[in-house]
Point group: C2
Amino acid sequence: MQLIEGKKIAEKYLENLKQEIKQMSQKPCLAVILVGDDEASKIYVKNKNKKAQLLGMKSVVINFPETVSEKELLNKIEELNKDNSVSAILVQLPLPKHIDTNKIINAIDIKKDVDGFKPENTGRIAQNDEPFSYPCTPLGIIKLFEEYKIELEGKNVVVIGRSNIVGKPLSLMLMNKNATVTLTHSKTLNLKEITSNADILICATGNPKMVKRDWVKQNAVVIDVGIRKNTDNKLSGDVDFEDVKDKCSFITPVPGGVGPMTIAMLMHNTVQLHKRFK
Amino acid sequence: MQLIEGKKIAEKYLENLKQEIKQMSQKPCLAVILVGDDEASKIYVKNKNKKAQLLGMKSVVINFPETVSEKELLNKIEELNKDNSVSAILVQLPLPKHIDTNKIINAIDIKKDVDGFKPENTGRIAQNDEPFSYPCTPLGIIKLFEEYKIELEGKNVVVIGRSNIVGKPLSLMLMNKNATVTLTHSKTLNLKEITSNADILICATGNPKMVKRDWVKQNAVVIDVGIRKNTDNKLSGDVDFEDVKDKCSFITPVPGGVGPMTIAMLMHNTVQLHKRFK
């Protein structure tokens, strides 16, 4: 079993970005919109902000109260779209229930859609065409496969979880790499039977330790996107790591696997958009 | 075994559309762009045109020679986009090699993208949001499942063929219906093993009679999108119908299965765009 050291790979990416940014006369600028007081969201935004500044980018966080109107958010996005000093716009999700998330995401100029969440970006991926940005978590996972020279062509890949942010775009990206992809979800009836045939298993559900030893094929590659605090306050992924690990050819740890790659790809995307559209 | 009579269902849809159009003071108008002299394309366009007129719609076919420039096509699309008398624009594919198909499709106003091929439409489907139009063949297949009350939720669906027109959007639509979807293609290694576990098997490759009896699970639903002329000049699908039929719970014939639904859904989409944006 070989551990996929996302943290180490991510640091390599970040170091390269830092050197690249050092050479730039005009620095990339990431604008983050944060609505409300959700503790997890605040931590995510703080980390993204801190990382951007460490790399020598500009980073702006715009806070709105939970009660903000859709109109106010749309106005702010419109302002950021027009602002030439802003390279990339990120709206931290989830948004409060009275806000139409799709409408907000759709309002971002595609040239600044750093999360790659706009339908046109997803559609371009579906059509095996280049999007303006790839969504960060799926892109980070693809980079991990590249780093560890894990072949995708002809492989049976099973993805658990069909979110718009991870499961669906990732499945489409894997299809473009000639993998045979099965996308499973909460309505899948024979999940264990399906996962136990997977050459590569990718879990993105947020159900701690749901994937057990008998769910995994011998020598499978296992990628764990989930990250949740257990009752004992320790972080754990969707995969029961200790139970599964010695059955795998490769496995990502939680923490230190996919998570660091997501934030590295966010920085990567910001720099890419800045270089392409400035 | 029950035959899925696409032709009969399509006629029902067309009759309803005809009645609906009769009530309209301003009739829907479908504009079709045809480039070059490909015999199959000419027949397809002629059939679409004839069907539109039979239903009481307006239909315009704009012919360009094989040598047309990208610029000329883009100018024509721009003109049709602005023309208030045009409800829907269809560019007959394939286009000649010197033309960038994506660029042409992207130029169509999404409010007139009757084929639903624009990336934003595909992306909206991927995100389980409403597109402006669903692509015609996948939509026709979903309607057949509805007509025959074939349940999709929790079913293992295998799609063979990952085209942007059929396989990929259809897979996404089936995921939205809570099916567990495996999308297979020319690089899939163990195709027969995968198809023989499918509750529902959908073939869209254009390889005549590739699907044999031992590829199909007992009581599977089999949908055949392929249609090719054999050496003996008879039409046949991707499925070896005679070999497979008595193993299926439902099966589409070729011809008379999916094909008529595609053209009915094109008419349906034209009417929908006309009603929504006029």
